[in-house]
Amino acid sequence: MSVIYILLSISILVAIIFFIAFIVAVRSGQFDDSYTPSVRMLFEDELVKEKPKTTNKTNKTN
C-alpha cells in the first residue's frame, strides 16, 4: 500500500476533526454572542484580586 493513501487519509482525518470541532462550537452557542466574551475575558484579573476581600467580608457579616 502506498504512502499516499496514508498521508491523504491523515490529512482528511485532521480536516474532519476540525470540522467536527466547528460543528460542536456552533451547537454549543459559541457563535451566538460574539461580543460579551471579549469583554468578559478582561474581568478575570479583577475577580482574582477580589477573592480574599470577599472572604473577609463574609466573615465580618457572619
Binding site: I12, A15, F31, D32, D33, S34, T54
Partner: protein, 791 residues
C-alpha cells in the same frame, strides 16, 4: 471629574447633592445602590466605566405576579427540583460595567449560582436555586441595583425560542468540502501526465466526488427547493439557473470521472456553492437588540392586580380579566384594557399609543383606553372589555398583520433572472444544434459547458453583498433596516406619509404664545413663581419657556387638581389654569392646549401651546417634495393646520382626525391606485399603517425602548437625513445594475470557451471565483463610497 455629577448614574446632582464617602449622588436611590455594592466589595463596578448606573425605580408590588406558578413556568427556560434558569431582558445593559456587575450577582445573593450576560441581546441568563430564593427576589434584586428587567406579555406567549443555525452548518460543510476539493484538484492542473499522478488520479477523483456529496445534497438543498417552488409558481427566479448549473456540474463531473474522460468540475461546484452561501450569510445582518416584530404584547404587563368584592388584592393574568373586574393600576403601570376610572387621580401618558407625551388628566367616571401609562399614584378602574377587544388591541385583528410583506414582491435579481434564464437556454440550444451538424461528439459537451459557465453566481452575489453592506452602513448611521428587500422597496417609493405627533413634532419641547392683555412685571413675577411650585406638565413646560425671573416667596399657593392653581402675593390674587377655572368670559372653541391667566378675578389672557417641530422638518420636506407625494396623516384635531401649512411645502396634503384603522385604509386605497407608500410613524396607533405600507419606518427617540412592528427603525436624531437614506437606497440599486453588467462581461468570456467547446475544468475553476470575487470587491467599494457620502 466634574464635582456635580452623580457618582452612580452621571446625572446632574443639582444644588444639594447627597454626600456619602466623599462621593456625590443625585438621589437616595443611587446612594443605596452604591451602598449595596460597597458592602459587597463590588465597587469595581465604578472602576470599569465612569458613572455606569441607573436610578433604581419604585417597584413596590409591581412584581407580585412572579410568585404565581403558571407565570414562572412560562418565564423560565429550565426548572427541576432545585434549579431554575431564566433569561431576562434588561434594557439598561450598555457597558462593560454592566456585564461585570450582572455576572457577579452571586455575591449579592449566594443562591444565584450563575449569571451570564449576552451583551448584543441585552439579556442576562440567571441560574438560581429556587428552594431558597425565587424568581421574584431575583427580579427585585436586579431592580434594586438599577437593572430592572423588562417583562411583558410577549414573554408569556413566546415560550422557548429556538435559534436557527442551519445556514452556519451549511456554510461550514461547504467550506470544509471546498477547501479539501481544492487541494485534491490542484495536482492535476499543474502536473499533467506525471507518472505517479496518473497512478492515483482515480483515488483523488473519487475522493473529490465523495466530498462533493454533502455539499450538493445538504448545503445546496435550499437552491433546489427554491427553484422547484419558483417553477411551480411559474416564476423563473434566480435559483432556477443556479440549480440547473449545480445539477449539470455534478452530473457531468460524475460521468467524466466514471468514464475516465476528465477530472470533473468538483472544485468549481464546491466553490460556487460556498460563495453563494457566503453571500446569503453576509446579507443576514441582524440587530439582536432590536425587534421588528413587536405588537402591543411587548408593552403590556403579564399580570395586574385585581380587587375582589371583599377588597382583597389578587394578581391575575391579563388574559383572564373579564368585563366588570375591578383593577388596581399602580404608578408607572400600563393600563391593559379599556375601562372606567373609579378611584384616584389618573394622569395618563398615552405616548405609547399616540406619541404625544403630554399627560391627560382623567376624573372618576371617565373612560380610560388601553395602552396608557398611569403617572400619578394608584388608581382603580373597572374593566369594560377583555384585552383582545380593547380599542387599541383590536387593530391587531386586521388582516395586514398576518400578511407576509415579502410575498408578491419580485426583487431585482429575480426580475433579471427571467430574461437571463431564457437567453442562456436559447444560447445553449443553438450552440448544441450547431455542433450536432459540425461535430456531433462535442454537442453534449458544449450544451453542458454553457449551462455550467453561465451559472449566475456573480449575479446572485451582487444583491446580497450590496444590500448586506448597505444594511451595515445604515446601521452605523442609526437607521436600522430589517432586511435587504426593505432597501430595495425604499428605492421604489413614490409617496411619503408622515404621522404628526411624535414624528414630525418633537415630544421634548413645545412652544407657547401669549395672547391677551399685557402682563405687568409684578404679574409676570408671580406667574413664574407659581408655575415653579406646580408639578403639572403644562406648568413645567410653561415654566421652562418663560424668561428667568427673581425667586420670591408666595403668600398663598393652592393647587386645584384638574383645574389650575390659585396664588396670592401682596395685593395680587392670581389664577392660572383652565378657561372655566379662571373665569374666561368669552368661551371659544379653540382646539389647541391653552393655559389661562386672571389677576384679581379680571381675565388677562391665555398661553396657547404649539407643537414644536423637529429641526430640519421644513428642509426635509422641501427636498422630498421634488420627488414624492407628501401626506401628513394625523390622529389629532386640526389645531395645528395653520402652523403646518406655513411650515411645509404647499402641495403637502394634511389630513386630520384619523383613527388607526383610517390610516391603514388610507394607505391601502392609495396602494390600489399604484402608489408605493413609505409610512413614517412612531406610536402603536401607527402600527396598522406601518404594516400596510410598502415600507414602514418607526421613528424612535430611544431605539432600545420602543417601536411598533415595522420594516426599519430610525433614530429620531437622524430624522432630517431621511432623504439621504432614500437616495442612498436608490444608488444601491444602481450599483447592483452595474455589477450585473460586470458579471455579463465575465459570462460572455466564459460563453466563448463553452460554445467553442474548449471549456477545461481549470478555466472554469479560474473564471468562476474570479468573477465572484471581483463582484464582491466592486460592490463593497462602491457601497463604502456611498456610505462616506452619507456621513
Amino acid at each position: 471629574m466634574e464635582n456635580n455629577t452623580c457618582f452612580h448614574c452621571g446625572d446632574d446632582c443639582g444644588h444639594h447633592p447627597i454626600e456619602f464617602q466623599d462621593k456625590h449622588f443625585c438621589c437616595n436611590g443611587c446612594k443605596t445602590v452604591f451602598e449595596i455594592f460597597n458592602e459587597n466589595d463590588l465597587t469595581c463596578y465604578y472602576d470599569l466605566e465612569n458613572s455606569p448606573g441607573a436610578v433604581p425605580k419604585e417597584i413596590e408590588g409591581k412584581y407580585d405576579f412572579l410568585i404565581q406558578e403558571n407565570i414562572i413556568e412560562k418565564l423560565t427556560e429550565f426548572r427541576d427540583e432545585t434549579i431554575e434558569i431564566a433569561t431576562l431582558y434588561i434594557p439598561h445593559i450598555h457597558c462593560s460595567s454592566c456585564i461585570w456587575i450582572l455576572e457577579n450577582l452571586n455575591k449579592l445573593n449566594p443562591n444565584i449560582t450563575d449569571s451570564q450576560v449576552n451583551f448584543g441581546k441585552k439579556t442576562v441568563r440567571v441560574t438560581y436555586k429556587h428552594d431558597t430564593t425565587n424568581l421574584k427576589s431575583v427580579v427585585l434584586l436586579l431592580s434594586s441595583i438599577g437593572y430592572e428587567p423588562y417583562i411583558s406579555l410577549d414573554d408569556f406567549n413566546s415560550g422557548k425560542k429556538q435559534i436557527n443555525r442551519a445556514l452556519i452548518y451549511k456554510l461550514g460543510v461547504a467550506g470544509f468540502g471546498f477547501g479539501n476539493i481544492m487541494f485534491l484538484s490542484f495536482p492535476e492542473y499543474f502536473e499533467v501526465n506525471e507518472f505517479w499522478l496518473d497512478q492515483y488520479k482515480f483515488f483523488f477523483r473519487w475522493l473529490m466526488f465523495a466530498l462533493s456529496l454533502p455539499i450538493v445534497f445538504y448545503s445546496a438543498q435550499d437552491y433546489f427547493i427554491s427553484a422547484l417552488k419558483g417553477l411551480r409558481a411559474k416564476i423563473l427566479n434566480i435559483d432556477v439557473p443556479i440549480a440547473l448549473g449545480i445539477t449539470v456540474l455534478f452530473v457531468r463531473s460524475t460521468i467524466e470521472i466514471s468514464l475516465n474522460i476528465g477530472s470533473g468540475f468538483f472544485d468549481s461546484l464546491a466553490g460556487l456553492i460556498f460563495f453563494l452561501l457566503t453571500g446569503k450569510f453576509f446579507q443576514q445582518k441582524t440587530y439582536e437588540f432590536l425587534s421588528f416584530e413587536r405588537d402591543y404584547k411587548s408593552y403590556f404587563p403579564i399580570a395586574v392586580t385585581k380587587i375582589d368584592k371583599e377588597g382583597h388584592e389578587d394578581t391575575i393574568q391579563v388574559y383572564d380579566i373579564e368585563k366588570g373586574d375591578r383593577i388596581l393600576i399602580r404608578n408607572e403601570e400600563l393600563i391593559p384594557i379599556d375601562g372606567i376610572l373609579i378611584n384616584g387621580k389618573a394622569k395618563i401618558d398615552y405616548s405609547f399609543v399616540t406619541g404625544e407625551s403630554q399627560t391627560v388628566t382623567k376624573q372618576s367616571g371617565d373612560k380610560l383606553f388601553a395602552g396608557g401609562k398611569q403617572t400619578n399614584g394608584v388608581i382603580e378602574m373597572e374593566a369594560l372589555k377583555s384585552v383582545e377587544q380593547s380599542y387599541l388591541t383590536q387593530l391587531w385583528s386586521n388582516d395586514v398583520f398576518n400578511k407576509n410583506k415579502e410575498e408578491g414582491f419580485t426583487n431585482i435579481t429575480n426580475t433579471i433572472s427571467k430574461y437571463f434564464t431564457i437567453s442562456i437556454l436559447t444560447i445553449s440550444l443553438i450552440a448544441t444544434v450547431f455542433w450536432l451538424f459540425v461535430d456531433s461528439s462535442k454537442a453534449m459537451n458544449v450544451f453542458t459547458a454553457v449551462l455550467i459557465i453561465a451559472c449566475p453566481c456573480a449575479i446572485a452575489l451582487s444583491a446580497p453583498f450590496t444590500f448586506g453592506n448597505m444594511l451595515r452602513i445604515f446601521g452605523k448611521q442609526k437607521f436600522y433596516v430589517k432586511n435587504a428587500s426593505v432597501i430595495e422597496k425604499l428605492a421604489q417609493i413614490n409617496t411619503v406619509i408622515f404621522d404628526k405627533t411624535g414624528t414630525i413634532t418633537s415630544n421634548k419641547q413645545s412652544n407657547a404664545e401669549y395672547d391677551g392683555e399685557l402682563l405687568s412685571e409684578a404679574e409676570n413675577l408671580v406667574l413664574k413663581n407659581s408655575l415653579r411650585g406646580s408639578n403639572h406638565p403644562l406648568s413645567r413646560t410653561l415654566y421652562s419657556i418663560l424668561k428667568e425671573n427673581n425667586i420670591i416667596t408666595l403668600d398663598a399657593f393652592e393647587e386645584h387638581i384638574g383645574k389650575g392653581i390659585e396664588v396670592k402675593h401682596d395685593a395680587l390674587n392670581m389664577k392660572i389654569g383652565s378657561s372655566s377655572f379662571v373665569g374666561n368670559p368669552n368661551k371659544s372653541a379653540i382646539l389647541n392646549t391653552t393655559v389661562h391667566v386672571s389677576t384679581n378675578n379680571v381675565y388677562k389672557g391665555k398661553f396657547t401651546f404649539y407643537n414644536s417641530y423637529r429641526k430640519g422638518v421644513s428642509k426635509l420636506f422641501n427636498k422630498l417634495k421634488k420627488h414624492y407625494d407628501l401626506v401628513i396623516l394625523s390622529g389629532d384635531n386640526e389645531g395645528e393646520r395653520e402652523n403646518l401649512t406655513k411650515l411645509l411645502p404647499a402641495k403637502t396634503k394634511l389630513i386630520f382626525n384619523q383613527k388607526p384603522e383610517d390610516k391603514l385604509d388610507f394607505i391601502k386605497y392609495h396602494q390600489t391606485e399604484g402608489a408605493k407608500v413609505l409610512m413614517i410613524g412612531d406610536g402603536l396607533n401607527d402600527a396598522g399603517a406601518l404594516a400596510q405600507s410598502d415600507v414602514g419606518i418607526a421613528l424612535s427617540e430611544d431605539v432600545n425602548v420602543f417601536s411598533p412592528a415595522c420594516d426599519a427603525i430610525l433614530d429620531a436624531s437622524k430624522f432630517k437625513q431621511l432623504f439621504s437614506f432614500i437616495s442612498a437606497s436608490k444608488s444601491a440599486i444602481k450599483i447592483i445594475k452595474w455589477s450585473f453588467v460586470l458579471s455579463f462581461f465575465y459570462n460572455t468570456i466564459g460563453l466563448y470557451f463553452a460554445i467553442t467547446g474548449q471549456l477545461e475544468p481549470v478555466v472554469a475553476a479560474i473564471l468562476m471565483p474570479l468573477s465572484s470575487i471581483s463582484i464582491v470587491i466592486f460592490t463593497t467599494i462602491a457601497t463604502n463610497i456611498l456610505g462616506k457620502r452619507l456621513e
